[in-house]
């Protein structure tokens, strides 16, 4: 890490957080309530300059974490959304063929081959894609590589160079080294085993659905007007729904949406009726709705069950 450490600008070092506590407060300040390990790992990532591999079920705020870190550190967020068939041209850089062609035509006669060749492989004709942008950026950025498990192994192998040395080699131009040190977050839904080589280069963070109290805090942060009792009940119900065997368990964002929906409706208690009317906010599959209506609806129906 010596190369990258020396590449850090003075400014960035001063902007890096002092302690785990500072990170926790900072993330809180930008509207993200980190769990114990989340704050710690984010802090370590800024300190050590290692990429973080964030895994966990869909909807626990993996992407949101990257956004929050960027907001907190006042850095720009560069996002690379991965998908099946993503290749280097889409992730690293691409030559701007049209512009090159125009250039050649514009100086069609008179110029020699050498001169044109020198000319059209310059930075002017380079289309920077997210990875390139992140590395070449003047200001330090936060690089989010989202859903890395959607790409194939070849792409992962290519990422290794970028992640360990923060440099990209372009045959025509030479090596592009990072001027600043980006904070890299990779997210994965664990739909495929990532290669050992990639994991070895990362810190690992497993995000799970938050505990009841923690989620309550999150909901209250985003919908502060919602009465305490309703919020607590809401979080309990979401917990119940998640415990069922569903195609898509409700995410944290959906609990927040639900809280806002209830707020709009002016609900002051979650009973079976309100639940049935609004459950489409948190349950989004036909079959899931049946299951949820059957299991959770029953429990809500009996007021004696309220703990």
């Amino acid at each position: 890490m010596s190369v990258s450490a020396s590449a850090r600008s003075e400014e960035e070092v001063s902007a890096s957080p002092e302690s785990v506590e500072a990170v926790r407060e900072g993330l809180r300040g930008v509207g993200y309530l980190p769990g114990e390990s989340t704050a710690l790992v984010s802090y370590l990532a800024t300190k050590l300059g290692k990429p973080v591999l964030v895994e966990g079920p869909a909807g626990v705020g993996k992407t949101e974490l990257a956004k929050a870190v960027a907001r907190y550190l006042g850095r720009e967020l560069v996002r690379l959304q991965c998908y099946e068939g993503l290749d280097e041209a889409k992730a690293l850089y691409e030559w701007n063929y049209r512009k090159q062609l125009l250039r050649i035509q514009a100086e069609a006669s008179g110029t020699g081959w050498e001169a044109v060749q020198e000319d059209i492989f310059g930075e002017e004709f380079l289309l920077a894609r997210p990875l390139m942008t992140a590395i070449a950026s003047e200001q330090p950025v936060v690089l989010l590589i989202d859903e890395i498990d959607k790409t194939d192994q070849e792409f992962e192998a290519m990422l290794l160079e970028v992640l360990s040395d923060f440099q990209i080699s372009i045959p025509e131009l030479g090596l592009v080294r990072s001027r600043t040190h980006p904070i890299v977050l990779l997210t994965s839904n664990n739909s495929r085993e990532l290669t050992e080589a990639l994991k070895r280069r990362c810190l690992y963070l497993w995000l799970d659905y938050p505990a009841l109290e923690h989620e309550l805090e999150i909901v209250r942060l985003h919908a502060p007007e919602l009465p305490q009792t309703v919020a607590r009940r809401l979080v309990e119900v979401v917990g119940m729904v998640r415990a069922l065997d569903l195609k898509k368990p409700p995410s944290i964002a959906e609990s927040i949406d639900w809280a806002r929906a209830l707020l709009l409706l002016g609900v002051d208690e979650i009973d079976a009726d309100t639940f049935f009317e609004t459950m489409s906010v948190i349950v989004k599959h036909r079959t899931d709705m049946d299951v949820v209506a059957e299991r959770v609806g029953l429990k809500l129906g009996a007021p004696a069950d309220v703990a």
């Binding site: 370590l44 070849e154 495929r192 280069r201 810190l203 690992y204 497993w206 415990a243």
Partner: protein, 458 residues
Amino acid sequence: MSPEGLPARILELAEELRREGVAVGTSELLDAFAVLGEISWTSQEDFREALAATLAKSQEDRRVFELVFERFFFRATELAAARQGITEQDAASLGELNEEELDALRAQIAAALREGAEGAMRDLARMAIAAFARRQEGSGVIGVDVQRIRRALGLRAEPQPELPPQDPRHEGLPREALRRFEALLRRELERAQIERTGSLPPARPLGELDRALPSGPLADLAAVHRVVAQLRRRLATQGLQARGHRRHAHVDVRRTMRASLQTGGVPVVLKFRPRRPRRPEIYVLCDVSTSVTSASVFFLSVLHALHDTFRKMRSFVFIERISEVTDIFEHERNFKAVSERIASDAGVADISGYTDYGRVWSEFLGDVEDDLHPRATVIVLGDARTNGRDPRADIFAQIAARAGRTFWLNPEPRLYWNYGDSVIAAYERYCTAFECWTTAQLEDFVRALTRPVIAAAR
């Protein structure tokens, strides 16, 4: 533990993690030390999280890490304490408990479990040990003692309707809390043992059981579904993994020729045969005699959850005779309901309850003889324990000869194969046998089963 000793401790911890199958490389260790330079060691939480972030790189590894970390530092502190002769104030001052006080203790523990109060649970675990260790002699085996105490306390996950409704045990206790309480009991007992003997008992490897397929009758439903969901997602992404093998693709001559017409007969663009995932026809035969029931039902539900991966699927269960259960799985999604229905009305005629493989083969062959063809796959799940009866491997050979592929899944570890009445060797000559007692092994098998093949490669 002195600070100078810490690097050595961390290396020992890493060594222990490796022994449990977590891949800890040198670079991970370097990271761990770098990380420890950044945080304060006084917060146990931070210390553990920091090590976990660098040493355990998957959810599974993380779970192992938690267990190993717990055990490792527990042992390290206990050893140090034993060396320096520090003992804990024993809860012996409780004296003899009468029935009433015992009942109060029971209720207190049950209430703590309901609320999941960790601190209270720890204290109560000690009191329980002190109370019960005196009444009945400890067996000396910690696992046995834990279960004894738990039973004496009447702590169960199932509802106990005979108790009054205000008793916290009436509706059954949360399984998670029960497990934690048992862990606390175990730990306190271990602590007491170390104090008594002044030395550490030998370290046991984490039971493989921890990571095994559900085998008990109380198979954890949620775990089963998690495995299935995971499997399904992984299988769904398989098409993608096959893409790297393009170089093995076969040229489709006809389509290449046709495409070449555009370029005046010069085959500029090569056309390849598409790689189609194998959608096998599957016949599953599952032993459901008591020794392997859970594994069988679990396996069947996995296959049925994946049924759209297969062209056609028929499943049979057997003990002495066979019985088709394809319908049950089509109509029931619930794992528990399926096991109950198989037990109640699959009608496998278990007069003796002993597996009769010879009879099973001949009945199976009679049932599906005309349907079997080289594209069919037969999967047998069983422990191949014949109870001394004739294995009739000759009929099995006929089945294997008619089917394209034959697999045998044995839920016993390979170590036990061919011991006692296990005759797997007799069948293994005609089929491919897999040991299959952890979810990882099962996943490997399902992957092998659905591996894509090049269409019409021959």
